[in-house]
């Protein structure tokens, strides 16, 4: 690792939810509000859902509510299968969510209402981003840092980055491929499925891949 390598600066983001005051008691109300709420609200319930450490099988808050509170397993599977990072604009993601809900509403039986207190509450959020005073100059330092940074740092660099960077990349793979020139390892990290793991699971997969590479480098003769 020579001069001129841009260090990896770890950052973190914190989200404080803000209520929109709007709630849906059933699928029809969800449909109606999905079409009207702000882009920030759609973003909060989809992209930022990953920060909650999605421990269940859902990949966004709409799928979670539909599955857990309405018992609409088929629709929740459909919604969970929507990849929010595949849309260039929130409006397109919104349309995809609406399409899924519409297809369920067109078919019998009539969906049930959620129990009182278990409605879907639309929120937005304020987000504060800040550096965590941890930087890595090489792969070994990166390995140690990834092991100990907070989960929200993993979120910021692995999930939130996808809304900032082109081509569905994350900060980790971009730095490893670009600044360190280790394209294979970068590719390996980029290929970790963001929807199939919790934040701790993502951390483990990154550690595994980086550790293997560090070990290889340590064993090299020159």
């Amino acid at each position: 690792m020579g001069k001129g390598i841009k260090p990896f600066e770890f950052k973190e983001c914190v989200i404080v939810p803000k209520s929109t005051g709007k709630k849906a008691r059933n699928l029809r109300e969800l449909r109606s509000l999905l079409g009207r709420v702000t882009d920030e609200s759609i973003s909060h319930h989809t992209y930022q859902y990953f920060l909650s450490g999605h421990v269940l099988e859902y990949t966004n808050a709409f799928a979670h509510w539909v599955g857990e509170s309405l018992g609409e397993k088929g629709l929740s599977e459909h919604l969970s299968n929507i990849d929010p990072y595949s849309f260039s604009e929130i409006e397109l993601l919104r349309n995809e969510l609406l399409k899924a809900v519409d297809s369920r509403l067109e078919a019998p039986p009539r969906p049930r209402d959620a129990a009182p207190g278990d409605e879907f509450f639309f929120s937005e959020s304020i987000t504060l981003t800040f550096p965590v005073r941890v930087r890595a100059m090489n792969l070994a330092e990166f390995l140690m840092a990834v092991r100990y940074v907070d989960r929200s740092s993993i979120y910021y660099h692995f999930y939130e980055a996808r809304t900032r960077l082109e081509g569905g990349a994350d900060d980790f793979s971009k730095w490893i491929s670009g600044s360190l020139g280790q394209k294979d390892l970068g590719g390996k990290i980029k290929s970790i499925d963001p929807f199939m793991h919790t934040l701790e699971g993502i951390r483990e997969h990154i550690l595994e891949a980086v550790e293997e590479q560090v070990r290889k480098q340590m064993e090299e003769l020159s």
Binding site: K11, E12, V14, V16, P17, K18, S19, G21, K22, K23, G53, V55, L56, G117, E119, F121, S123, S125, I126, T127, L128, T129, F130, P131, V132, R133, V149, D150, R151, S152, S153
Partner: protein, 403 residues
Amino acid sequence: MITGYAGISPKGDLLLLQRLGERLAGKSFLHVNSTRLGGGVAEILQRMVPILKDLGIEARWEIIEGDQKFFDITKKIHNALQGDQVEITREMWEYHHEVNKKNARKLNLDADAVLIHDPQPVALVEFRREGRWIWRCHIDLSNPAVGVARFIKRYCRRYDAAIFSVAKFVMPMAIDQFIIQPSIDPLSEKNREVTKEEIQETAGRLQIPRDRPLLLQVSRYDRFKDPIGVIKAYRMVKKYNDCILVLAGSPATDDPEGEVVLTAVTEFAADDPDIHVLLLPPNSDRDINVLQRMATVILQKSFKEGFGLTVSEGMWKGKPVIGGAAGGIPVQIVNGVNGFLVHSVEGAAFRMRQLLNNPEMAHEMGERGRDHVRTNFLITRQIRDYLSVWYSLEKGGRGILEP
């Protein structure tokens, strides 16, 4: 002071606190509520104000004063806001306003940010002069009595923002409404680490045997906390697993029903030597801490609940918690992951048996619960969020903290 939380709270929370502290240093932050002792708000303010000062913020905490008539009215307002059909007459509101006006004359309300806690001092906003004013509502306003909601909304229009504990507690209003969950302090007497000697001493003094699994519910003797249901569930469990039940609560002077419920619970427990109904004196924080650490399974089987921070307290001690799906309990318990949400006596009994028969599962759930609390329900996160809201209001409602 903030350094005392290093290694306990997430590092990011502490870093952000320092950073926000730098931005807001020298500014004044006033909290106003109606009591310095007793209740969750006072408990958290006692810990929060010194931390804010340590961050360089000029934090103050003022109390409004009122007579018995005033507090009788505010109790009624509190109940009406939670949905009870209690009539609050125009005269009552006028008296409420009058007492707030007297307090406004006496108190120094000038600050860069003013956080008014709950309905008792809500009308102080009529006398605001400077700074950002935020109403911090700790109660559930999702289903208020109509008349009382109208009055509260009228006051809320004068605030810059409101803060609620859970999204479902929010009452639609035309100001920004943030969601900030309450918290526990890991360094307080109720949550700090305890020694083996302390556990032995408390167990001996309270005469709690340590030879069998212990089921515990810590709560006021209140029918909404369902202590009788807990005993029924324990009896179902007892057929299969030998265990001990401890119900621990302190007398609440503002709750005349407490004594009636305690008598009913004692009678229902009858002469079962394995049921321990404890009436602990106020400020028994250390005993509660020890009991939670002695427990095998912790219950909070409420029908109706505010936020239910005893759930987080139990989880912080690494215990699996079984809670009623009420109030803020479902925010704390992720069902089947770090505890169980139940809807009946039978459900509570079944989950207790499951945990008693699967110590490994109980241990894992407890670990996940502690981690969940560390990330979401520690005081450092709550202060972080308060300062984030204040900072964002200063920035025109946006987040973003420059690098």
